[in-house]
């Protein structure tokens, strides 16, 4: 067993002065770094939940919710953009593309769930009070807009679905079922769009 990393939870004592920009930026960075780690390694072995939660909590408590929200959105978008880049390197043939897309989608949903837990205070308070999209919805939206509906993934996805689509009576395979579920979660419009396009010129 590795000795547990020594860490200190910084408490932000209120003394009548609003949180200064440096502290706010530092806390924000801790959260965005964690987002990077969460996407990079699935076991999240080096992250301390209490510490991260506290960072996000302090930011929101002291009126920096907007900063945290935009930084988080940016960090998530950057990670997803990276995923899209890695997808374009996958060969088109066979079911490999769909499989890769699906595994990345699962990675993404797991990451979003972890992020949501870290910034739970923001999700409960700031997001509700300001009518923003919740972290979960934001994750779905980013994936939809910058991966599935992007110029280079969409045509390949439609093509792949057309190839893999089972005949009318056959049950769908695991991969197809997964893709179907993912599309359904992204919203009716995308789901219908892909399905229509893939069966249009058969």
């Amino acid at each position: 067993m590795t000795p547990s990393r020594h860490y200190r939870i910084q408490s932000y004592c209120f003394n009548g002065v609003p949180m200064d920009a440096a502290t706010a930026a530092g806390n924000c960075k801790a959260v965005t770094d964690a987002i990077r780690d969460i996407y990079a390694q699935e076991d999240m072995g080096s992250l301390v939940f209490e510490e991260l939660y506290r960072c996000a909590y302090n930011l929101v408590l002291h009126g920096q919710g907007e900063l945290l929200y935009t930084e988080m959105e940016k960090a998530m978008a950057a990670e997803v953009e990276g995923i899209r880049g890695s997808l374009s390197a996958v060969a088109d043939d066979s079911g490999e593309f769909l499989q890769e897309l699906l595994s990345k989608w699962h990675l993404h949903t797991k990451a979003v769930a972890a992020i949501r837990d870290i910034v739970k205070y923001m999700d409960r308070m700031f997001v509700v009070a300001n009518g923003k999209a919740s972290v979960h919805d934001l994750g779905v939206k980013i994936w939809r807009d910058s991966v599935v509906c992007s110029g280079d993934v969409m045509p390949r996805l439609v093509e792949a679905v057309r190839r893999e689509r089972p005949a009318a009576e056959e049950p769908a395979g695991d991969v197809m079922a997964g893709v179907d579920k993912m599309l359904a979660e992204l919203g009716d419009e995308v789901h219908r769009g892909v399905m229509d396009a893939s069966s249009a010129d058969e």
Binding site: E50, Y53, K120, H136
Partner: protein
């Protein structure tokens, strides 16, 4: 010209709005209902029944405050609500309903209330409260939603609702289902997983050991011996029905018993086995009562007896048999077993095991150098923070310290809070009570309550803090105003603003107040509409509530301002005064620096 008086509804009006919003169904009371032609008689020495019959709301409030059981029957088998309905006192009826009087149409008592109601408005009131019962106390509500969040329980609950309510209230079932809010959205909250499943007639009921042990010595014994390692227990006895056990376990979580009349004898037997003596007594009595109550039912033709129900609230039981007391007992055991440091050594653990005290704790939490034993299910039910942390503990770094405790129990560490405050928080989470709080801890508790997403705690702390605030200096009051604004404690914030508005000149002379003005976001713009215009989202400060200075101006205008069109001038006057004070404050700071 804008009549600013309309921008702030009177408290009375607000309350009515809230009430209407709360029950959703419009039950407007005409002024005529409130002031009947015959003056109401006061019954200063009357009991609950007399007060309800006379419509003496003052007396009623006093009695309810003192803990009278609203669902008690008098010797004519009538409850207080029956008399209020019979005599047509809508106010008194509403008060009783708010206090938890049973009004379900398919119960014996509720049926009589409906039958006796003087007019249709009263019946609508009864229906409204049946559809939207007043909220349970936070502890009961939290545990109940934990119980119902377990998939099997939830399915059974919905089925029962639909079956018992019939087509007439299928919508009601849907509303009740939606009432669990976030549990509908499976992605956002996962239920806290049950650790034991009972099967009766092949149908599952999911539960948590900690709760069952706290409520019944029978379960406590069983979980220590026969069922120690079991994940599920199957009952095949003909003597136990699914409905009976389900309602009993539901009662264990929520202090609210709802059972088919047909299942009552069965349930009474189950209570006997579970050693719930008081509950069994009431049930035995009720079984006899129901046998002879048949002829009193109003519409027997459409009320199949199999649909009749019996509802019991915890307040009908003696104090020590209710949920908070039961949890208080296990909390006391837990605290007694909680040790100073050295938790990692095997020795103290052995000791606590040898001592024979088994509080079935399944979680260690280390705060400063003390290790607290607690129950996962209670912490997870009360605080979303703990629920998340407990479900995440395998992912994050805590996984490493997870198995440090000798008996493989989860071990969490909470930093940066005092043991006293954490003890208070535990007490509140287990019992909804906060008895040993010192006002000096209030600030820390506000912070913990926000962080743990345990919002009802803020109200509890505020209630204790308020009397203390009557004796603090203006400087301290400014501090509390700041705190309550940050942590969004409405009650304290309103109180501080009221005091400051009414004694504005005194505060203007206080240095701390002037310094405070500098740190606050400036009041919104200059035009006369500002007080009615909502502040734009995303502006500085806590955006989920109003600007502090705007609110202060409102309060001040209420207390000091002239009428109607002169009001705007008063507002301008106030703004000028604030600006001047801020200038003074800046000067003072500069002088200090020099």
């Amino acid at each position: 010209m804008v009549d600013l008086r309309n921008s702030r509804p009177s408290p009375e009006h607000q309350q009515r709005l809230e009430l209407a919003a709360g029950i959703d169904v419009e039950v407007e009371l005409d002024p005529e209902d409130l002031h009947p032609s015959v003056p109401l008689k006061k019954v200063p020495a009357g009991d609950l029944f007399e007060a309800a019959r006379a419509g003496d709301c003052g007396r009623l409030a006093l009695l309810l405050e003192a803990g009278a059981n609203v669902n008690e029957r008098d010797r004519w088998d009538s409850v207080a609500l029956y008399y209020a309905c019979l005599a047509g006192h809508a106010d008194a009826a509403r008060m009783l309903l708010e206090a938890g009087a049973v009004c379900a149409e398919r119960t014996f008592d509720g049926d009589r209330c409906h039958y006796a109601a003087l007019n249709l408005r009263l019946r609508r009131l009864l229906r409204a409260y049946e559809a939207r019962p007043p909220p349970l106390p936070p502890l009961h509500a939290a545990l109940r939603s934990t119980f119902l969040a377990c998939p099997a329980n939830r399915a059974a609950f919905l089925e029962m609702l639909q079956w018992s309510a019939g087509s007439e209230a299928a919508a009601l079932a849907a509303a009740a289902a939606a009432g669990f809010g976030p549990t509908d959205n499976a992605s956002s909250t996962s239920p806290f997983p049950p650790d034991i499943t009972f099967y009766v007639d092949g149908k599952p009921i999911e539960a948590h050991r900690a709760i069952l042990c706290a409520r019944s010595s029978f379960f406590r014994q069983k979980f220590k011996t026969d069922w120690k390692t079991r994940k599920e227990v199957r009952f095949s006895s003909q003597k136990l029905s699914f409905g009976a056990l389900y309602s009993l376990i539901h009662f264990f979580y929520s202090d609210r018993l709802e059972v088919d009349v047909d299942d009552m004898e069965n349930l009474a037997r189950a209570c006997k086995v579970c050693k719930c003596v008081e509950l069994q007594k009431i049930l035995d009595k009720e079984v006899v009562h129901q046998r002879y109550a048949q002829h009193k039912a109003v519409r027997q033709e459409d009320l199949d007896s199999s649909q009749k129900r019996f509802i019991l609230h915890g307040q009908s039981l003696p104090e020590e048999d209710r949920l908070p007391s039961a949890l208080q007992r296990i909390l006391e055991e837990c605290l007694a077993n909680s040790r100073e440091q050295d938790c990692h050594n095997d020795e103290p653990n052995e000791m606590s095991r040898d001592s024979g005290v088994d509080d079935a704790a399944d979680l260690y939490i280390k705060v400063c150098d003390k290790v607290f034993q607690c129950h996962q299910v209670i912490l997870a039910s009360r605080s979303e923070y703990f629920k998340t942390r407990l479900s995440r503990n395998m992912d994050f770094v805590e996984a490493k310290s997870w198995l440090q405790a000798t008996d493989n129990l989860p071990f969490l560490e909470e930093h940066d809070l005092s043991t006293e405050a954490f003890e208070n928080v535990l007490e509140y989470m287990y019992t909804d009570k906060l008895e040993n709080m010192d006002p000096s801890q209030a600030e820390e508790l506000f912070d913990i309550a926000s962080r743990y997403l345990l919002f009802p705690l803020k109200r509890a702390v505020a209630d204790i803090l308020l009397p203390y605030l009557e004796h603090v200096s203006p400087a301290e009051l400014c501090h509390w105003l700041m705190l309550s604004d940050i942590y969004d404690v409405v009650k304290i914030r309103e109180y501080c603003l009221d005091v400051i508005a009414c004694n504005f000149e005194m505060f203007a002379d206080t240095r701390e107040f002037r310094a405070l003005l500098l740190t606050l976001p400036p009041p919104s713009g200059d035009d006369s509409l500002r007080t009615t215009r909502p502040s734009a989202p995303g502006t500085a400060g806590n955006t989920d509530q109003g600007n502090l200075l705007d609110d202060l101006r409102e309060k001040w205008l209420e207390a000091e301002a002239a009428e109607l069109d002169e009001r705007d001038e008063s507002a301008k006057l106030f703004d000028n005064r604030l600006e001047m004070l801020m200038l003074v404050a800046e000067q003072e700071i500069n002088e200090d620096d020099a």
